[in-house]
């Protein structure tokens, strides 16, 4: 059950993703979406998307993938519309491992960056860059 999925790149994701039901694949806070929007614009590719997922590697076997995506979504991708017209693509395999994750943006002693609160994770390594399920 996937909520609010669209593959229309032109649509303006003006809805507040914060109000999505918990079963939604991904929640992007407005603050995080704003930073994504700014970074997409700064990169000179306002139409590009963000790809979020899991790949192998890292100390406990898995690590996050979080990168710009210039192409259109792949056939089985899930597209999440966040605030500020930001689109995030998830591949089906990753979706199993990240469903319900909240992406937030944080500024703190470690500098600035995105924080992933993934309810599926039961352990993360010291560096935090890899996760176990």
């Amino acid at each position: 059950m996937l909520a609010e999925i669209t593959n229309d790149p032109g649509s303006d994701g003006s809805g507040a993703p914060a109000s999505e039901p918990p079963a939604s694949p991904l929640r992007v806070t407005v603050r995080a979406a704003k930073v994504m929007r700014a970074q997409l614009d700064k990169r000179g590719t306002p139409q590009a998307a963000i790809r979020f997922g899991i790949r192998g590697g890292g100390c406990t076997g898995y690590s996050y993938m979080f990168q710009f995506e210039d192409g259109p979504p792949r056939a089985k991708d899930t597209v999440v519309e966040a605030a500020h017209g930001v689109r995030v693509y998830l591949d089906p395999k990753s979706l199993v491992l990240v469903r319900g994750t909240e992406i937030d943006f944080e500024t703190g002693i470690r500098g600035h960056g995105f924080r992933f609160a993934n309810p599926n994770v039961d352990g993360s390594c010291g560096c935090g860059e890899s996760v176990s399920f």
Partner: protein, 677 residues
């Protein structure tokens, strides 16, 4: 503490959006494409020093290096520099000429006179200049409103300088080092970064102006000093005077003290001379000189002052005021300037006092700012610091040169093999019991950064604690790089886990790490300073990080094992101590319970031996068994201690003691490093 599986309270790392196919970390380097910008109050300029070359300033089409930090918002066009400065007289409110003084400031900070119409937007409290047409200024024109922030004004200046650099490099600028006064606070530094962002310029880092000047002179590398020494940087610009005392240690500069006068500079020289010239010309029939006459006098004064650095006399004309062929001598000029220049001496002495430095201890005095060309100023500096100042590098350009050198290094050029840092390349931590590394400052934290953590004692007999500072990503100290080791002695004898030793790490903007350990009850303190990455190349850093990934699994096993052993050892020690002290008292420890405890102790000893990936689970099980079986004994012992300790004390005293105890427990549990305010 030692869990079954590794689960951290730490919610995880912070991530950045990566470029597809990008390397796993680190910004892309573009050797030779870094620029240095001196964003000054009066003038700004840009310099480059590509691929280790000597720094040079970049000129505009008319061959001028200095760009007046002036932006005009007239006729719907934005103009920067000389053209804008020429329009200052006619439209004082719409030609912004000292945006730097407004950067990152609120309305209440603006305690100096200025000709601008300022607006404060209630919600953001950001100051804005209204540069629209003033309805009252000219009849027949309707008012309009256009508001710009000081950051936007500075961005216009940065854009012009970046364009100059791109024309020279024939490729995009990869990043800039922008200089800021040493005293700039976080808000002012952030505003400077914002200005660069608006201008589309990547900021490698902000650099303190005095540090930039010292870098330009290569004071960090001079052979005779061996990377050590004290320096004074005397910066007399157009509108501001700054004095900074720097300490160089292990090739890193640290600002010890700053001082100055934010309303004192070469412009005051010009005004004093202009005033003098207008007096010589005599008052016009209206009784007051008009704005254009005053501007003419200022321009003439500036030219005369500059000419008199070399010449003994000059001729001055003020056609608008009817002054023709006036002869002005250097002696006459210096008599006018001396009272102003002398106002810099007090702040210099104060800064020396603040830094606890005598003039004779200084290894050099660097001159910065165009006004230090005035011979009178040089004589004053020499008299104040008791040594001739360094003046080989053009004082208008020395700050930009230093920034250019640093920008070149940060762009990735191989320049004397130095790695300069704006993030921590490898985690910094402490060795704790069992050789485990407790990371205090995580890798990739932006500097400057501070963090502290409270540690405790392991046994009652412990009267000293070894603080072993290590750098690296591995879990065991033996696999990390040892940076420093010192001992905090004279710890009070306290039961295990009762002492509180606060260890703080401070990594300043120049990547100098200060580690302090303080026992909170007695206040005894030890401090050590190290330069964590000195001599570590990018490639070595990469190799160390990769190694930590390769060894991740065995590292975690080793850490789990070491932690489990430490915990079990602590419990064994506590139980043995208790047995030794009160174990013979029958009412506290019935014989059958004693037997059970001794059996558990024996099992614990056995569990300590083996090695292997999952051994920590057996050790933890042995610890839990021992804790469980000795728990009634521990409780009875505690009750007895409380009864004897509390008799004769008021309820309030007991409660406060218990509250202290709870706070202590909380702090001990709070194992995460906490940021320093």
């Amino acid at each position: 503490m030692a869990n079954e599986d590794i689960t951290w309270d730490d919610p995880g790392a912070l991530f950045q959006i990566e470029e597809p196919n990008a390397g796993p970390r680190g910004p892309a380097r573009h050797p030779g494409r870094g620029i240095g910008i001196d964003l000054g109050t009066t003038h700004s300029l840009v310099a480059i020093a590509p691929h280790g070359a000597a720094p040079r300033e970049l000129l505009d089409e008319q061959g001028r290096a200095l760009l007046p930090s002036v932006v005009s918002y007239l006729e719907d066009a934005v103009e920067v520099g000389h053209g804008a400065a020429a329009r200052r007289v006619e439209e004082p409110a719409r030609v912004i000429s000292s945006a730097k003084r407004f950067m990152g400031r609120g309305a209440s900070d603006i305690d100096f006179a200025h000709p601008y119409r300022l607006h404060v937007e209630a919600e953001s409290s950001v100051l804005r200049f209204d540069v629209g047409v003033d309805a009252g200024f000219e009849a027949g024109r309707s008012g309009s409103s256009r508001r710009v922030t000081p950051m936007e004004v500075s961005a216009e200046i940065l854009r012009v300088l970046a364009a100059r650099a791109e024309a020279e490099l024939h490729e995009p600028v990869a990043g800039a080092v922008i200089t800021v006064p040493a005293y700039f606070d976080d808000a002012q530094r952030q505003a400077t970064k914002d200005a660069a962002r608006i201008a589309g310029l990547e900021v490698y880092r902000l650099l303190a102006e005095p540090t930039a000047a010292a870098l330009a002179y290569g004071l960090d590398r001079s052979v005779d000093g061996g990377g050590q020494g004290l320096f004074a940087i005397y910066d007399l610009g157009g509108g501001t005077f700054d004095i900074s005392i720097l300490r160089l240690r292990d090739g890193v500069f640290q600002v010890l003290a700053t001082g100055g006068d934010s309303a004192l500079g070469g412009d005051d020289f010009d005004r004093a001379l202009a005033q003098h010239l207008l007096e010589v010309a005599g008052a016009p029939p209206s009784g007051q000189h008009d704005a254009r006459q005053r501007e003419e006098a200022l321009v003439a004064a500036r030219a005369a002052k500059e000419a008199l650095t070399e010449a003994e006399t000059v001729t001055v004309d003020l056609p608008r005021s009817g002054l023709v062929g006036h002869r002005l001598g250097r002696v006459e000029l210096e008599a006018l300037l001396e009272p102003i220049a002398r106002r810099t001496v007090g702040p210099c002495r104060q800064a020396l006092r603040d830094a606890g430095v005598r003039p004779s201890e200084l290894r050099g005095v660097v001159l910065v700012g165009g006004s230090t060309r005035v011979p009178l100023v040089r004589r004053l500096v020499e008299a104040t610091f008791k040594q001739p100042p360094l003046s080989d590098i053009d004082p208008d350009k020395v700050v930009a040169y230093g920034a250019a050198i640093q920008a070149d290094i940060l762009s990735g050029s191989a320049r004397e093999g130095v790695t300069l840092l704006d993030v921590v390349p490898l985690s910094l931590g402490l060795e704790t019991m069992g050789g485990i590394v407790e990371k205090i400052i995580p890798r990739n934290a932006t500097i400057p950064i501070g963090a502290r953590q409270v540690f405790t004692n392991y046994s009652e007999k412990q009267t000293a604690m070894v603080i072993h500072v290590v750098q690296g990503e591995r879990e065991l100290a033996a696999d990390c790089r040892s940076l420093a080791r010192f001992e905090l002695k004279g710890l009070p004898r306290l039961p295990p886990s009762m002492a509180r030793i606060e260890v703080s790490f401070q990594l300043d903007a120049d990547a100098l790490l200060t580690v302090s350990a303080r026992e909170l009850m007695t206040g005894i303190k030890q401090t050590v300073e190290v330069k964590p990455t000195y001599g570590l190349s990018d490639a070595e850093v990469d190799a160390l990080v990769m190694e930590s990934l390769d060894h991740a699994e065995e590292d975690y096993d080793a850490r789990n094992l070491a932690e489990a052993r430490v915990e079990l050892g602590r419990v064994v020690l506590a139980v043995r101590t208790a047995l030794h002290e009160v174990g013979h008292l029958g009412e506290l420890l019935p014989p059958q319970e004693r037997t059970a405890i001794e059996e558990a102790l024996a099992r614990a000893e056995q569990a300590m031996g083996p090695q292997g990936p999952q051994v920590h689970k057996a050790i933890n099980a042995a610890r839990e068994g021992l804790e469980k079986v000795s728990e009634p004994f521990a409780r009875r012992r505690m009750e007895r201690a409380l009864q004897s300790g509390m008799s004769g004390k008021s309820l309030a005293e007991i409660e406060s003691a218990l509250a202290d105890e709870e706070r202590l427990a909380e702090r001990r549990a709070g194992h995460e490093p906490e940021p320093l305010a």
